[in-house]
Amino acid sequence: MALKKVKGNFERMFDKNLTDLVRGIRNNKDNEAKYIAQCMEEIKIELRQDNIAVKANAVAKLTYLQMLGYDISWAIFNIIEVMSSNKFTCKRVGYLAASQSFHADSELLMLTTNMIRKDLNAQNQYEAGLALSGLSCFISHDLARDLANDIMTLMSSTKPYLRMKAVLMMYKVFLRYPEALRPAFPKLKEKLEDPDPGVQSAAVNVVCELARKNPKNYLSLAPIFFKLMTTSTNNWMLIKIIKLFGALTPLEPRLGKKLIEPLTNLIHSTSAMSLLYECINTVIAVLISISSGMPGHAASVQLCVQKLRILIEDSDQNLKYLGLLAMSRILKSHPKSVQAHKDLVSACLDDKDESIRLRALGLLYGMVSKKNLMEIVKKLMSHMERAEGTLYRDELLTRMIEICSQNNYQHVVDFEWYITVLAELTEMETSAKHGCIIAAQLTEVGARVADVRPFAARECGALCARVAAAPPGPASREVLYAAAYVLSEYCEEEEVMLNAVSPLLACAGVGGGYMRARAVCVHAALKLCARLLRARRDRNMRDQDIELIRECLAGLRPLLCSEDMEVQERAHNATALLTLVLRELSPGDAVLPAEEPPSATGLLVEHEQSNGLENADDEETLNQNAKEDLIEELAQLFDGELKPVAPKAQKKVPMPPDLNLDQWLSRDRWSSESSSSEGEGEGEEGGPMFPAPHDARPTAQFTPEELDMLREARRQEQANNPHYLKDDSPRSYQQDDIPIAEIALEVPLQIHTKRSDKYLMSRESSSKKKKEKRTTKKRKAKKQDKHSTDSESEEWERRPAVCAGGELPEGAAPSDDEPPPPHDDPHHALDLDLDRPLREDELLTSRLQQYPSPGVGLLDKKKDKPAKKSKNAENDTPDKPVKKKKDKKSKQRKQSATESIKNEKTEDILLIDGVFKSNGEQLKEDVVENTELTVDEGKTLKTEKHKKKKESKNKDQTISSKKRKSTKKDKHESKTGYEEALGISTPSKEVV
């Protein structure tokens, strides 16, 4: 037997070790997957061996495979086995594997609790250190709760190495188990003044991380940090402290004022670039927080900007990058001082390094003004043409749009120029994503700037023509969506309308991939057609009208069987409508479907018309009126202006007081509103007797009266509802004529030169002329009247009106009072008041008392033999915490044995309430369990056994969890002390 074992072990020596595995993988480059699959099989066999060294070897190999992307979660149990080995070598392998593959939600993690506790309390500092390092990677809520105390004890270890690791570890514990923060905080504070610089640095690190998310709770530490900052020479720690101050100053301006001086000194004195940079950053934060009203304030800004300029001009790209990054922070509060360095920023725009260009782009945002916007955008456009990386291109485009549209187009003076820029960007055919952005801009400018609409419509017409002529690129496909809308909505010029109809219909037929704009194109064509017919109805242009409709119908015909459902649907609609009009205009037209039997009126009209030259004049005019009527009605379908809606308008719509969303939309509702409904009695009758069937579904049988009522109610609702087309506009034939813009069409647009440049040139030339004391009108004046202003200064000021904001429901004010959306940041739970004195029940000791280490591992069976012998073990669930609590309760119940069971029950609940106030769900469960047990009088447990057991449990816990530095000698005192403490901590008991 022994021989066999030795032999087995000996064979195992020839197993592959990690080196062999790596070598093997490198030698099997061609069939790596197969080789690794084979190795996995071997590993599985090795893991079945008893020899721990063999297992460790297997686990080491698994760790390597994990790095290559293989899932090793199946081996979690084996890894735990290796971790629990007594040998440091194996432990190292095990903890490495664990730190690489475990995570907070791993199964079986609870198996590790006691093992890790043992390691944490190991004699050798490296074993404890190893456990801490490993644990930091996979700590879960349960582990954090159960081990918090052990780690806290390590924070006051005699070995700096362990103190340091334990301090860092506490941060992870806080994240997973926020309740530990308050009890542990005094100790953490203590560590800020630890004699060992490493521990100090670790504590600073942890506080910085905590304060970053909840700075206000750490303001009280400012004096300590201030002292550290002025005394310490450890740059690494200084950086952290200075960063921390950067987070604190916005909350406490006085702190900022105090900081300026030492920070300025540091800026002047330090040679370390990293420290210099962080100092500048914090000075900036201070400057932002105190904004102004401080002596020497301007000097500090100047100093920062100067130093940053030196950084940006440095040949080291890293410094250049950081300089720009910090510059963008100053920009927000002191744009003036940054604008002075515009030359520097535009030089960086040409840098070969993409990161730097991106940073410079970010700075541009604050540097544009009305005067230089065109120039900057021109430069960016040229970049756009040569940019190769998608990321940079994306950024360029969004930035360009951003600087133009910022603050409701604050800097855009000439919107025709802006529309041209958008059109040119579209022509670059970058990506669909860009197309969407451009499309949004196009619609927005159209909606907000009324003056530019005719021009925008013309540009959009050109775009549609281009798309119709050649297969569109991805960007055009998206932009067409907006272009078709803008064109049809804002076009006022007949010629443009006329020329746009067939390209639009052609666009709707463009295939080659999904294009959401297609259906919109059909719709736009119909809309243009209708508006055009109305626009020229006064002039007798019947032939042209017929021609137009024929052209339209011809264009629509191929779309009638489009593969896109939406296009098909709309094409059918449009065809039907236009056919109707055409029949009015020219009955018996060849285009009309011949087989269709003419409608009664149509027939009548036709006959009378064909019969009678002798027809009376009034007959003729009547006929004319009917046509106009039809055209008018068709055009009316598209009336009404769409206005911008404020982003939060939907949320602001007040809830009608009588609206009950939970109520069924059954007939009862309607019948209850009107007293004269016959169905009412029926409903009443069924109600109380058969509530279920009555509530289940409203029956669909309505009396005619009810139907009328419903209809009326619906009409009312629609009248008040902004989403329905209002029918309040009188459908009279004498509606005001739409004013027809009599604008001479512009000179044809040249495509090959940059069209947007001409605006820049015209601007420059006009400004030159102005300087020569001119009064010649600007070139733009001949196109539109809006820019014909006299003085230059006024020209910058005068720009088309841009309607800001958007529509809101009545009574709602635009505001940003909405709370930020909640997100699952663990730091939220750490937002605790740290200065409040600790409550007794918050101490980690008492917590551990309530929660004995759960699921003590299979690996450490010795420690775990508590409740098995107790009487109630058979009928109880294996849930240990519950069992224990029950025991405790039973003991307490003994003291108040005179009270009735019922009283007892309530008392228990109150008691629990008092003790475990902060425990949510588990508590509730326990209460339920507990009260159930109380009722179960046969099993009320008053045996000595339980008492003993509880005492021994107590002992265990007090050893590990004493916060006060109790030695093992006064274990008993501390135990009794604890009992008393428990009594104090449960005031509700006395109350009851």
Partner: protein, 191 residues
């Protein structure tokens, strides 16, 4: 906080990966791949900071990297870390590796990824910087290795002998070592 530390070679092969936030294995590989693509197309004379990794981090996170011969050392950090500080940290890491392996090269990391992890564990813990003093780190590592050696003692002798024999020119070994691979290995040796 440091979110991840990645080491990979010029071809994107991972040599060391440490994630301080959980990602499953597939995701980890994707992150490595994406990071490699972002980093590898950058010239050596551009800055060492990179924004725009989509898989890891987000707006608050940055990639800070250094390129040494055949290896990229990439740290993914959030805004609480000092950019220049992390660059120094990478330098400390590499110098410490250099001391541990005596003229470290890619092959050392390939065959001793576990040792590299041990170095890293003394440098960074749970995403936070633990120790930046190289002498201190080396001292801690030496003491731990001493423990390991003492533990192995006599019992490890046969295993060591076997592995020594295995490393010698056994016929099997020769067959395993495909000759075309040798030039590659030699190339890798140049650090």
């Amino acid at each position: 906080m440091i979110k991840a530390i990645l080491v990979f070679n010029n071809h994107g092969k991972p040599r060391l990966s440490k994630f301080y936030q959980y990602f499953n294995e597939d995701m980890q590989q994707q992150i490595i791949k994406e990071t490699f693509q972002l980093v590898s197309k950058r010239d050596d004379n551009v800055c060492n900071f990179l924004e725009g990794g989509s898989l890891i981090g987000g707006s608050d996170y940055k990639l800070i990297y250094r390129h040494y011969a055949t290896l990229y050392f990439v740290f993914c950090v959030d805004s609480s870390e000092s950019e220049l500080g992390i660059l120094d940290l990478i330098q400390v890491f590499v110098e410490t590796l250099d001391k541990c392996f005596e003229n470290v090269c890619e092959l050392d990391l390939i065959f001793h990824a576990d040792a590299a992890h041990q170095v890293l564990d003394e440098l960074v813990m749970g995403g936070m910087v633990l120790q930046t003093n190289m002498a201190e780190i080396l001292c801690r590592l030496q003491e731990q290795n001493k423990m390991q050696k003492a533990e192995a003692g006599i019992s490890a002798a046969p295993a060591r002998a076997v592995s020594a024999v295995k490393s010698m020119n056994l016929p099997q070994q020769l067959r395993d070592m495909k000759l075309p691979d040798l030039p590659q290995a030699i190339k890798d040796l140049k650090f």
